[in-house]
């Protein structure tokens, strides 16, 4: 039997060496290791008929040979497969300088992308996104915001009226700012209020590169017990740092909006020159016109008259509000020189925001 095993090993390896394809290897495998008629399988199957001494020895040797043969067959198979793949790969040489197959993706509009970005920042500190209609009443847009009839502040916001009237008989108008949403929200719920709102606003104004009759604002409002001007500053500084970068500084100066008092304007240190007004200490910065500061938003403490108008008690609650002109902030940040591009749906413009 020992001789048989040596012979099987010699014959099997010789036949394996002569095999040049996977089917040939399979045939050799069947001849020696095949379950039914394989020569080695036959010996292993017949071990039981041998005397005990032989059974143990030959069993060990036969199993050892089977392991060796299995490994040799597997190795030969792999080398043949690899060779086949290699020859296939050799034919897969392509001109990689040709363009890739296009996966279309639509672009995001820079105004809406900015609104989403800003909404996200305020969302993180508890401001819920709300919205109101674009056709508004005179009362929501002006009177309740402390801009009574014949108030000169109405001149700041020349108005489009539509050929429809509201219940009070006054002509309906296209909202001149997002602030009427403040009025709607406060009339719909008791304090605390913590909301932002974004949307289109309309001004009766001729359009040119820097003026648009239709543009977007983001408005914020917080009303609660003991809210202060310091809270307003902290909230807006957080916004500026999140939006323009952590090193951004802010400054506040007095300004006027009839629905806030005290009213303020916030400037942020220029994100390009870092507030120095010069790039690399030399070239005047054209983002901030070399001033080091950019105008960002208007804000203030909610005017007590507005709180009274919506049925809140200014002795019990205070609030702050702010408004951001989205087009202006985008124009500054992305150096867009013509405001008309935003509503023009020109793909040559939109494709720059993929």
């Amino acid at each position: 039997m020992g001789m048989d095993l040596q012979e099987i090993e010699r014959d099997a390896l010789a036949e394996l060496d002569r095999s040049a394809s996977l089917p040939e290897i399979d045939a050799v495998y069947t001849r020696y290791l095949g379950r039914k008629d394989g020569r080695l399988s036959g010996i292993l199957r017949n071990l039981g008929t041998l005397p005990d001494d032989d059974k143990k020895r030959i069993g060990q040797e036969a199993n050892k040979l089977r392991t060796i043969l299995e490994e040799r067959f597997a190795a030969k198979q792999k080398s043949l497969k690899d060779a086949a793949l290699d020859s296939a790969v050799a034919g897969q040489r392509v001109d990689l300088s040709l363009p890739g197959t296009f996966f279309g993706r639509g672009n995001a509009h820079p105004i809406l992308e900015t609104i989403r970005e800003i909404a996200d920042i305020f969302g993180g500190i508890g401001f819920r996104m709300v919205e109101g209609p674009e056709i508004e009443t005179d009362k929501n847009n002006f009177t309740d915001l402390n801009i009574p009839e014949n108030h000169p502040a109405r001149d700041m916001q020349d108005t489009f009226y539509v050929d429809r009237k509201s219940e009070d008989g006054k002509p309906l108008l296209l909202r001149t700012h997002t602030s009427p949403v403040q009025v709607r929200i406060m009339k719909s719920m008791p304090p605390p209020v913590r909301v932002i709102s974004a949307g289109r606003v309309f001004r009766h104004e001729a359009t040119d590169a820097t003026h648009a009759a239709i543009f977007h604002q983001i408005e914020g409002l917080a009303v609660d017990e003991n809210l202060s001007f310091a809270d307003l500053k902290g909230t807006l500084a957080h916004f500026a740092e999140s939006y323009f970068g952590p090193k951004t500084k802010v400054r506040f100066s007095p300004s006027y909006f009839p629905f806030v008092e005290p009213g303020a304007q916030m400037d942020a240190s220029c994100f390009l020159c870092g507030g120095s007004g010069r790039i690399n200490g030399e070239v005047p910065c054209n983002i901030c016109k070399a001033t080091g500061w950019i105008e960002v938003l208007g804000a203030g403490m909610v005017n007590p008259q507005v709180l009274r108008n919506v049925g809140y008690d200014p002795e019990k609650v205070t609030g702050f509000a702010f408004g951001i002109g989205v087009e202006r902030i985008v124009m500054t940040r992305l150096q867009v020189r013509d405001i008309r591009l935003f509503l023009d749906s020109d793909l040559r413009f939109l494709e720059q925001f993929s």
Binding site: I135, D163, M189, A230, P254, Y256, E261
Partner: protein, 782 residues
Amino acid sequence: MKISLNWLKELVDLPWPADALPEKLASLGFPVESVEKKGVSATGVIAVKILAVDKHPNADRLRIAKVTDGAGERSIVCGAPNIEPGQTVPLATPGAKLPGGIEITVSKIRGVESGGMLCSERELGLSDEHAGILMLPEGTKLGSNVADALGGSDTIFDVEVTPNRPDILSHVGLARELAALAKTKLTLPDDALSAAKEASFDIEISEPALCARYLGRVLAGVTVAPSPDWLVKRLTACGIRAINNVVDVTNYVQLEWGHPLHAFDIAKLKGSAIRVRKAKAGEKFLALDEKTYALNETDLVIGDKESVVALAGIMGGQNSGVTNATTDILLESAVFDRAAVRQTSRRLGLKSESSFRFEKGTDTDTAERAWKRAAKLISDLSGARATGSKDAFPSAPKPMTIELRREALSTLLGMAIPDAAAQDVLERLQFSPQPSTAGWSCTVPPHRKDVVEEADLVEEVIRLVGYNSVPSTLSRFRVAKMDSTYRAAPTARLVQTMRGYGVSEALSSSLVPSEWPAKFSVPEKDIIKLANPISQEESALRPTLAINLLRAIQRNLNHQRDAVALFEIGKTFWGEEEAKFGFVLCGKAVHKTWRTAEKDICVFYLKGLLEALGRDTQAAFTIEPGASAPFLHPHQSFTIQYRGRPAGWAGMLNPRLAAELDLGGNCAIAEIDLAVFTQPLDRKVASLPKHAFVERDIAVVVDVATPWEKIRGEAETAGGALLHGVHPFDVFSGGSVAAGQKSVAFRIRLQDPAKTLSESEINAAVDRIKASLQKNCGAQLR
């Protein structure tokens, strides 16, 4: 508001250099829009007299002027055409520095030495005038500094004034603020004039509610003449054209005190009284702008015995204006109701510097100060005698007092202000604070009509203490509970889906040309129009997003684009305001590349996008063939159904409309209610099948009019629970298929989640489906 630094300096001691002023003004709430330097900003320029002018030996266009500065003579080469002997002109001497950084040296010009340069206005920084050399007034001291001779330089600040602070539309007003900030002295303009007698004319106020005060002063013996140089310069610097000494003084005092004034020629007034009254219906008025205005009973006017002589607070009349022949004038200073002025000014479309100021608000105190100052200046400049005055002042307003509570101050600001500091600021701003138990009782000065309650005083305090001294705190917040009425629609999933399929997010105008809604069959009653459009192009609110999206396609095609895919989420106004989602696809769906063939947008791309949208956004709408909209293709359009009602439409654009708009044949368009996409998601996860599916192909020939929908429906019914998909892969007519018939091949997928299907179960299902198609669709099997 243009503010002259020289003028300001006469009124207040400024401890800061000029270039520090913009920051100080901004800290007070008056940002400076621009700074302009006026006057001679050159150094080393002196006055010289031209003694002789000779030809230049080497140049035809140049001449050589011999000049003297009173002490010595020099030769100057000059190219200007206007120099003659005897003139006094400015000479930039060697070492002089001119605006723009030019430094003058002794140099040879075409071989002749020139000892300096004679200067034009532009070269001195005075104006853009460069046609010739500037002529100095005769008698200018030779050798003297030209900057001094021309009144020196000035800096003009263009200050932005918010509409709540009309008092700042004046040099006195701004000086008052700066004095409060700098804690320096305010010097008010000189208005000392000998007391006037009671005038011999009468002022009658018929509308005391609309005219709080009317001051009139007769100045007799006026000589109307050009104003002196200093006055002209001040007006010019502030952007006002000089006319004559009387008109110029009223303008000057308006810039100084901020209060509008008017001068009548008394000789032209009929009768011995003027009356502040409402106009009569049909009354006509010829204004100083030489236009005639038709008045009505709402207009406030000044009338004499016969007619209207001025539109109160807006403009005087031609019939009573001051001319060069005027000798006696009536100087008016009044306080008119701002709403009345505004209404009339708006109605007549007549605006003036005076109406602008009255609309913003004036006060009875400043009216008197301005009136006195103007009378003083007119007397000084025109030799007039102030002969009589009348002050119609029905009831002097009571000063308003407001309590500022210490606690309100610190609560609203979020910081404690020491009592002494608050008191000091309020005093500096002339609020005369009287300490009270809770804080201070403040009296609002007459020029501060904007201060009406406590919060206004809080702003006053912090304005001077400085906004930037308030700390910055990110407060703890209570989250507000709110209902869904105003909650913003969640559109992120919709936006991401559309972008993922290659459609770009667009925004288009809310306004459309008035003729467009008709193209979309919008009934006239449902078109919401602007009552006051700027142009016909933008005169109606968009009834559908489609209009401006189609116009966007037109523009993009004009820019040589061959594929346009845009979507928009926005408000439409078809009778009412609604939130919509719309999109357009036009041109190529797939471009020809080195490995793909090109494909055009067609109705199946549109349908595929709608199906993908439904799947990705989980919006449970159905796409049903046929839409009644006439702007869509009659055979290639859909109605979007949602919860049992139509919620939108989609389709290829009607070929006639496409041709009219020059959009080509493959333009798809859709608009769906936004609400379809913003419902909360309701999803359940199905357990995963453990057993493999099998697929079989079936091919049938049916009547060409049999819709796929019918075949699919039959297959699904017959296939029962085992059927998990029916997908058509080949549809054709002609060839071997009989006329009026079509061949439809489709693949079915069969699966039983509980076990592996046996061959007999599979065959039974296929046979059921085939039999059903034969019976119910008249199908022949292939």
